[in-house]
């Protein structure tokens, strides 16, 4: 066990998976020579060569589109979209082709594609680098949506993603790349999809989150513990598949719920969580479910983004709203 940050965990896992399976190919913009703009793919070119680690032209549509053909040829493509906001230019290939190739060919073609992409804001990137599009993609049948919130999970979920015969959108929290550090298990470490993780135990209220918002929720929980509010934090880890059982269990145990997302409010994945709770655990609720989210604006520029992105303070306020309602 070594304490590493999330980027180191991702880089470690890419090395391990490329060493394990020679069909694995990493390609995208600046991934080879430069080792990725965040260094997530550092050292892969030297270790595995220019046939398997490939700098592509700057065209997200063809990065995603060639992954389809590579998969059909029997390779295991791990393309990188440099920032998730750039995936607007690949959406037709991801949603229209990658996600439905298995379905439309009735299983003739396997689609073991893992698209890695950093997402989310808070680090003063230029426009269109900070979009949180997980809900858009979760609405596309055939895609698995995976969002690690710890270095250990980055390893375990990425290894599972690369070995999964289905397309996976593996979303990495830009803000957490170096900030999130924890103990990464040595050797083989696989985290199954569809199993949420309880990050903090608590009995009064559960905060349901994914990706970097888990870290914020954990801080909010620690802050409120001093006031005697017992906050459970549930990290969903994967939105597709969704661990409904763990959500229900947490709602039944706590009765009060806050869902956090960085994406704009309307049609965000928080809405799906709340609808699911409505279907599965409505009578366990003791208060209206609270949402903490971005706003229904385009992701704003640098001087505004701290107002847009949920922070600990807004999550604490959301928790207070949830717990102050009389049962």
């Amino acid at each position: 066990m070594a304490v590493v940050n999330m980027l180191e965990a991702i880089n470690h896992t890419l090395h391990a998976e490329m060493a394990r399976d020679e069909r694995v190919m990493v390609f995208g913009e600046d991934v080879a020579l430069n080792g990725g703009v965040f260094r997530a793919t550092e050292g892969l070119l030297d270790a595995y060569g220019a046939q398997r680690v490939v700098d592509t032209p700057l065209a997200e549509g063809v990065i995603a589109g060639t992954a389809v053909g590579l998969a059909a040829a029997g390779m295991v493509p791990v393309p990188e979209i440099q920032f998730l906001g750039f995936s607007y230019q690949a959406f037709h290939q991801i949603a229209g082709q990658i996600a439905r190739l298995r379905y439309r060919t009735r299983g003739r073609f396997e689609v073991p594609i893992t698209i890695r992409s950093p997402f989310g804001g808070g680090v003063r990137t230029p426009e269109l680098h900070s979009e949180s599009l997980e809900a858009q993609y979760a609405n596309i049948p055939g895609l698995k949506i995976v969002l690690p919130a710890s270095a250990a999970d980055a390893k375990g979920l990425l290894a599972t993603a690369i070995r999964d015969p289905n397309p996976v959108l593996f979303l990495e929290p830009l803000r957490g790349y170096r900030m999130i550090k924890d103990e990464m298990p040595d050797g083989e470490h696989l985290v199954p999809f569809g199993r949420a993780r309880t990050v903090a135990e608590g009995a009064d209220v559960v905060v349901i989150a994914w990706s970097f918002q888990v870290e914020l929720a954990r801080r909010a929980a620690a802050q409120l513990a001093d006031e005697g509010v017992s906050v459970r934090v549930l990290d969903l880890r994967t939105l597709v598949p969704l661990d409904v059982a763990s959500i229900v269990e947490a709602v039944e145990a706590c009765g009060r719920v806050v869902v956090v997302q960085e994406a704009p409010l309307t049609n965000g994945f928080a809405s799906e969580i709340i609808a699911t709770i409505n279907d599965e655990a409505f009578y366990s609720l003791e208060a209206p479910i609270q949402r903490v989210s971005g706003y229904d604006t385009p992701y704003p520029v640098g001087m505004l983004e701290d107002h847009f992105v949920p922070d600990v303070e807004r999550i604490v306020a959301g928790i207070r709203r949830a717990v102050e309602v009389e049962a």
Partner: protein, 336 residues
């Protein structure tokens, strides 16, 4: 020009006659309410069959757009059988089984070009000997995927042949609205790859152009862009009325690839009326079998839930279960 043997030329003409007949039958099925919207092959028979005969069905792949599948009999009977299933709206229509190396129709224009490049790239990575041929239309060359894919194909030296079917029209949009370029082959200059224009009504000319491109591709010399020029002799699809926009004099002046090839077969002294009638009768019987097989192909509505993933997510399994229960309840019987 390759000196193709008489029996090969006869076989090519046979597949061209078949393509037109199959296409007309699928068109008629739509008129009878037995098939969905479909795009007839009329005008493209020579370029599809000419290309197919220049490829090796054992090693090479074809990625069609949606108009070409009736002409790919050489790649295996599954192609037509599954195309008929596809046309009547059966989900198995998209499943062209192993080992047939043809992809199902692609409706989203030009998206298949990146797939072809990726497939060619992957084949080379696996040390496979073949190449990939991908069809797209003149209208599809305006899509970003065409440029992105051809550009990357050039960078990779991918063993891929990109065949632009220039039939003059993208539904109602003429080529003059599609591009200011002199022709589509010259777009290859931007990608640094060879580009050729070939008479798409001449199956032998197309065969030769594809054979050249294939030799280059499998030798590691990279991709080729081939523009096959023809004229769309029918409507865009069953849903289109080309009399609203196609100038009749253009249509009258257009060469019919079937007539071009018949003239070649006659020139070689290997044609007779009786021979052609037998070819058509055989094709008709073959199509009849395909239609009967398609219309009697079982369909369990719960198959809607299959193959979204290799294994359904719990949520999907639950939806499937509830659906199955409702369908069984409403029909009073098991699935059919």
């Amino acid at each position: 020009m390759t000196d193709l043997a008489d029996d090969i030329v006869q076989a090519m003409f046979t597949d061209m006659l078949g393509a037109r007949l199959f296409s007309q039958r699928v068109f008629n099925l739509q008129r009878q309410g037995r098939a969905g919207t479909n795009a007839p092959v009329d005008g493209s028979e020579a370029l599809v069959v000419g290309a197919a005969f220049a490829l090796d069905p054992a090693t090479d792949w074809v990625l069609p757009q949606y108009r070409e599948l009736v002409g790919l009999e050489r790649f295996g009977a599954d192609v037509l059988d599954r195309y008929v299933l596809y046309s009547i709206g059966h989900p198995e229509g998209g499943h062209i089984p192993e080992p047939t190396r043809v992809w199902p129709p692609q409706i989203s224009l030009a998206t298949q070009v990146p797939h072809a490049v990726g497939l060619a790239w992957g084949m080379r990575a696996q040390g496979e000997p073949g190449c990939v041929l991908v069809f797209l239309g003149d209208g599809s060359t305006s899509e970003g995927d065409f440029y992105e894919a051809c550009n990357f194909a050039g960078v990779l030296d991918a063993p891929v042949i990109v065949m632009v079917v220039n039939n003059g029209w993208a539904i109602s949009t003429p080529v003059s609205t599609q591009t200011r370029a002199k022709n589509f082959a010259e777009k290859s200059h931007a990608f640094g790859i060879p580009g050729v224009t070939v008479d798409g009504t001449d199956a032998i000319a197309v065969h030769d152009a594809v054979a050249d491109a294939r030799s280059r591709a499998v030798a590691g010399a990279g991709p080729t862009l081939i523009e096959a020029v023809t004229y769309r002799l029918g409507p865009h699809t069953t849903a289109d009325d080309p009399t609203r926009y196609v100038p009749p004099e253009q249509l009258d002046a257009a060469a019919d690839p079937i007539e071009v090839m018949r003239a070649e077969v006659q020139r070689r002294g290997i044609w007779s009326e009786q021979w052609e009638e037998e070819v058509l009768a055989t094709a008709d019987a073959r199509m009849e079998r395909a239609v009967v097989a398609a219309e009697s192909h079982p369909l369990d509505p719960t198959e809607m839930f299959d193959h979204v993933f290799d294994e359904p997510t719990p949520r999907l399994a639950r939806q499937r279960g509830a659906f199955a229960e409702r369908v069984v309840a409403s029909t009073g019987e098991g699935s059919h």
